[in-house]
Amino acid sequence: MLIKPPTDITPSEITPESVYRSRRRFMRESGTLAAGAATLVGTSAVGLPAEWLAARDVKPGEPIGEQMTSESDATSYNNFYEFGTDKGDPAKYAHELTVDPWTVNVTGEVERPGKIGLEDMLSGIDLEERIYRLRCVEAWSMVIPWIGFPVKEVLGKFKPTSDAKYVEFKTLHRPSEMRGQRSFFSNIDWPYVEGLRMDEANHPLAIFAVGMYGKLLPNQNGAPIRLVVPWKYGFKSVKSIVEIRLMKTQPRNTWNVLQPNEYGFYANVNPNVDHPRWSQASERRFPTTLFRPNRIPTRMFNGYDEVASLYTGLDLTRHF
């Protein structure tokens, strides 16, 4: 039986069970984790223990008047190629990933660069629920209640310099725990990278998520921290982030490197610009049923018109 500590002891004064357990696991497996170890040694890296969320107030989200996707669908149908290309692979294999401890490396055009344990990075940040539409570039969509906070709140902590025009996000590269990265047949250049323009990252709709459906993020949804940019196609919302780099120039993004004619840098949801292999004019809203694909029209910016001003004067057909 675990006795709960009195509330005047801060979490950093004690070592929660999940942390020492994961440290033991970490030491046991460090032989196979050489790559991961290099980034972890010498930091007091702490991911997010289950109690972390329970101890916090989360401001409830505004309902958007659309039916929410069931938690089981949102956690079993995922594109997370680090675990395999099948929609069911992430749910099957993501448990192999250790997300605690977790550090994020903040580099580039910031006054305070450095590696920081996730829990430290999130200290003092208020959590809120955001119920967002998620529109995948593959023309399906969900409605998901995320728990997170605006990207700009975290970026602000590291004091971006005036040269910071873009921000790049990098997913963990740990083939020992991410079997998709070991796949012989994959032609993706790991690690997965994505990027935003600074003004996009600073838009209040752009959030980092650490939870969904009232719980911490499951691994298959990008634990322990991921981006959610609801007006862009899902592939922009990079998962399991280990590096944030502020840059002068536009960063490369994985899918654009792989197939530049199909995936752009901006990737704003846009019903008027078709993907070369399929139409983007409509989408299948989950859950669909066998004889009713539940096709609904796709909206410009996924219905988030408030971001339109970010793109005044930009040709969205050319910059798709």
């Binding site: 190629y81 032609n187 859950p287 009713r292 096709r295």
Partner: protein
């Protein structure tokens, strides 16, 4: 009618084997209809579409494997299964196309037409593969075989471009992972290769016989 000959029993066995994926799909569809979401996850139409497509190309390649197998194993009687295997391949591919149309429900007729015939290249090439198989299915009967005479063999060579088109269909719809196109491509190379080798040998034998 219950078959009594060995060939009859073997035919029934092969028939059942080729029907099995469809039967299993039928069971899942039954479960899905009884309780939506129970059998295929959140996107059942796509699941069914891919499943039928996968089995379509597999059985199409199996059809192409019958003649080489009969030559390599020296069992000419295997060729007597070829029509059945081919018709099963055609059936899966037709059902695959039906599932595609189902997945397009909610789109206008013009959009579906544009997707299938012009806009989306993997859909277009897949559609051509199906179109090429239609005359083969129609003329697969003994009656047509007789009526067409030597033309029948020529016509049925359409199966080669059809299989190639099916493979291109797969290549063009893949992204990020090339396991399926590679494996199916390798099989296709082997099946085409055996035929080329067989033809060359046959011509050499004929030349040698003429010389003697």
């Amino acid at each position: 009618m219950i078959p009594t000959t060995r060939l009859g029993i073997a035919r029934l066995g092969v028939f059942c084997l080729l029907a099995l994926p469809l039967v299993l799909l039928g069971v899942d569809v039954w479960r899905e209809v009884a309780q939506p979401g129970s059998a295929f996850g959140p996107d059942p139409t796509e699941e069914v579409l891919h499943y039928l497509g996968q089995w379509g190309i597999r059985i199409l390649l199996l059809t192409l494997a019958v003649s080489p197998a009969s030559r390599l194993l020296r069992k000419p009687q295997l060729v007597r299964f070829r029509r059945m295997v081919g018709l099963w391949a055609f059936s899966y591919i037709v059902l695959h196309f039906a599932a595609f149309l189902l997945s397009q429900a909610g789109n206008s007729f013009e959009t579906i037409l544009a997707v299938t015939l012009a806009k989306v290249r993997f859909a277009v090439v897949g559609f051509y593969a199906l179109v090429m198989l239609i005359p083969l299915a129609i003329t697969s009967t003994r009656g047509w075989q007789r009526r067409l005479g030597p033309g029948w063999r020529k016509l049925h060579r359409l199966v080669y471009p059809a299989a190639f088109a099916a493979w291109i269909h797969l290549v063009w719809l893949s992204k990020g992972d090339f396991m399926d196109p590679l494996i199916y491509g390798l099989v296709l190379v082997l099946l085409f290769g055996e035929r080329i080798v067989f033809r060359i040998r046959k011509e050499r034998r004929a030349a040698a016989a003429n010389a003697a």
